[in-house]
């Protein structure tokens, strides 16, 4: 049976560069850093307080930043997709690591209760519900949480729903807001680099917390062409797997993570891979593990294909990070340039990857988007310029 082809017809972001794709593109290709101090009374005890935050959006205690960031990115994606039909044949798929934790942190740390926030249905599903409400969507509305791979899971599941014929159009992506609790946990875990994230660097020492949102409009190809849309990128495949090993530590052989890459690459000639958008968290263990998995699956090609890590520029936005990486890959595929991994200066001797130190021309081919999360949740996407 021939699989339904699924394309991206629109995308939108809210990143530490600001609102929208144009600022994102400019920031990526100018290699602009974004880190600043996370100012909050209950972050002061953290040794590392650096974070990549979105400063353009103001919220008061009646709003959730997560919902606001999601709605802004979705609007850009929908406008960009020239307003696809969003009704019973459309669905919403949101990936998030901590959902509207900002709303409940108001309750915890400031004893404020958000007046427009209905706690009855949890503090996580409200993001997807808000998107569905905004666009009158009456198809599937789902919220995925697999830690830092949540965005990729949401996008892959949206693709599956289109291929199963359940919907024609999907709004999908990821969002995570700043979280006092999360930065305290990462700090206690020793997972933050006080000098900022340096993926794959010899001197890497942890990640940098971030926030933001990134959303796509996916459509089945026929649907898009019937609307006279020029598809931007085609979503080719995905691979899921789980380590079943440890809540925070990846399984050392990388067998399962490698399997998720293999699944995404099923039927693809490895010589046709033109770029790898790494998960690249900047922690000692994770980057070495990711490099090993890429080497195991790609063999000789792993040292020739350009690899970049978005987190070096805009930090680690948890459940939004993989969706943001997808959006960054789309920007690269449309401009035929791959952005640099800016903070990385000296590659770890044990990492045999061609990490991009300055912006490079990008050849046509397939782009791999890795996401490996807490709990050994692996989700890998494969894209190609349409």
């Amino acid at each position: 049976m021939t699989k339904t082809r699924v394309i991206v017809s629109g995308f939108g972001v809210v990143t530490p560069y600001g609102i929208g794709i144009n600022k994102f593109k400019k920031g990526l290709f100018n290699n602009s850093p974004t880190f600043s101090k996370f100012k909050h009374k209950y972050v002061e005890s953290c040794e590392v307080q650096e974070a990549a935050l979105v400063n353009e959006i103001e919220t008061d205690t009646t709003e959730s930043l997560a919902i606001k960031m999601a709605l802004i990115a979705v609007k850009e994606a929908v406008d960009n997709a020239k307003k696809p039909l969003l009704s019973d044949s459309a669905g919403v798929f949101v990936g998030t690591g901590v959902g509207c934790i900002d709303a409940i942190e108001e309750l915890f740390f400031n004893n404020n209760s958000l007046s427009d926030f209905d706690y009855r249905f949890g503090v996580v599903g409200n993001i997807a519900n808000a998107i569905a409400q905004e666009y009158g969507i009456s198809g599937q509305v789902s919220t995925f949480s697999t830690g830092c791979s949540s965005g990729n899971y949401a996008i892959a599941s949206a693709m599956s729903s289109i291929q199963l014929g359940k919907i024609d159009v999907a709004i999908c992506g990821g969002v995570d807001p700043r979280s006092v609790i999360a930065i305290n946990c990462f700090n206690r875990l020793g997972g933050l680099d006080k000098n900022g994230i340096k993926p794959f660097d010899k001197n890497r020492n942890g990640t940098t917390i971030a926030e933001g949102s990134a959303f796509l409009v996916l459509e089945n190809l026929e649907n898009a062409l019937a609307r006279n849309i020029n598809p931007i990128v085609e979503l080719i495949n995905y691979g899921f797997s789980c380590d079943a090993y440890n809540p925070t530590v990846p399984e050392p052989t990388g067998e399962q993570a490698s399997l998720s890459i293999k699944k995404a690459l099923e039927g693809i000639d490895l010589s046709q891979i033109s770029s790898i958008f790494a998960h690249g968290t900047g922690t000692k263990l994770n980057d070495a593990f990711e490099a090993k998995c890429l080497k195991d699956v790609l063999g000789k090609y792993s040292s020739n294909v350009p690899v970049t890590a978005l987190k070096s520029l805009i930090g680690h936005s948890g459940g939004a990070s993989s969706a943001m990486t997808v959006c960054s890959a789309i920007v690269c595929l449309t401009e035929n340039i791959i952005y640099a991994t800016i903070s990385t200066k000296d590659i770890d001797d044990n990492i045999d990857l061609k990490v991009v130190f300055k912006n490079e021309n990008l050849n046509s081919g397939y782009s791999l988007i890795n996401a490996f999360a807490f709990g050994g949740n692996n989700a890998v996407l494969l894209l190609k310029k349409y």
């Binding site: 209905d118 009855r120 599937q140 919220t143 990462f186 206690r188 949740n377």
Partner: protein, 362 residues
Amino acid sequence: MKVSIAITDISILLPFADSVSDLWSHMQGNNTLDEKQQVYKINNFTPQKYLGKNGFKYYTQVTRYLISSILPLFERNEEFFDSEKFGIVAGTTHSAVEDWGVLAERVIEGGSEAISPMETFNFSMNIPASTASIRTGAKAFNITLSSGSGAGYDAIGFACDNILLNNAEKVLACGFEVVGDVVIKSLFDYFLQFNMPFGVPVGEGSAVLLLQSSEHLEQTPLGVITAYNTGFISKSTSNKDFIFSEMVQATLNDSSISSKDIDLIISGNVGKNNSESNTILQLSNNNIPISTFKEVLCESFSVSNIIHIVLACLALEGKYITSTLELFKKNNEQASNNSSIKNILITYEGDDGFIFSTIITK
């Protein structure tokens, strides 16, 4: 699309029962809930009973609840599981909020250093499902779905989709909730405002279904899912009834049956006049008995979603009770009860907009 997904085992942990036979005894006992008691918790929960003497010390309560229903089911079926083709999807409405409450207390008391190293990952909502995969070796995927009031139904949908897509052969579709201080505090305004925000008391616990393709079964299935659909009704939508009835009709069509073939409707309704009740009363036309359950089992959110399917499996054995809710009284007085149930329609409409319907057949 017609499907054939078998339900081959069930495990539950509720305030009233930790086995299906206890659940049925409770249902038969016509135990109405004390509405003055707005929250029913699992009293005297002893994790050792479900998790063994070791291995749970650092689990949070949500993780303990989830694993307490997963492990007994896993142990009963271990010989049939192929790790690589075995996945876990856990629905939860309130997810990790109680764990976030604990972590916030630590931070307020003593900053980052007050968090124990074994608690540092509990901010991530997927830790209970990840722990379940570690305990059971499930390697196809472990996912948490926190899709509002229908998170458990969404877990069932995800499980079925991924069995159809061959991403897994066997999937545990779960629901889990802890109603602790944070959830109660968060809901408090609503309790004051509405007395009971859900119409019935709130409960907690966990429930698990073992789902697999009905081809090549090792066991006799308890029931078979032949169609399932989810959707969403926006608050501003004017044609709510149309959207709900269209979803139910699509589910009947997918299952290749008509309303005449339905022997029983099990509804998540708590006596509220809404699109769901309008649709099922019209569909029944006083001929099909309607069963409801939250008035005797609480609103346990994602757990109730899974229990809904458990009750369908019991009904296929002739074990069901018709609704005593006033809304369905006339229908149930006229509809004749049938001890030979073959096709069951399950329906749900949440106040947040989540809607679901499925057909469970013998």
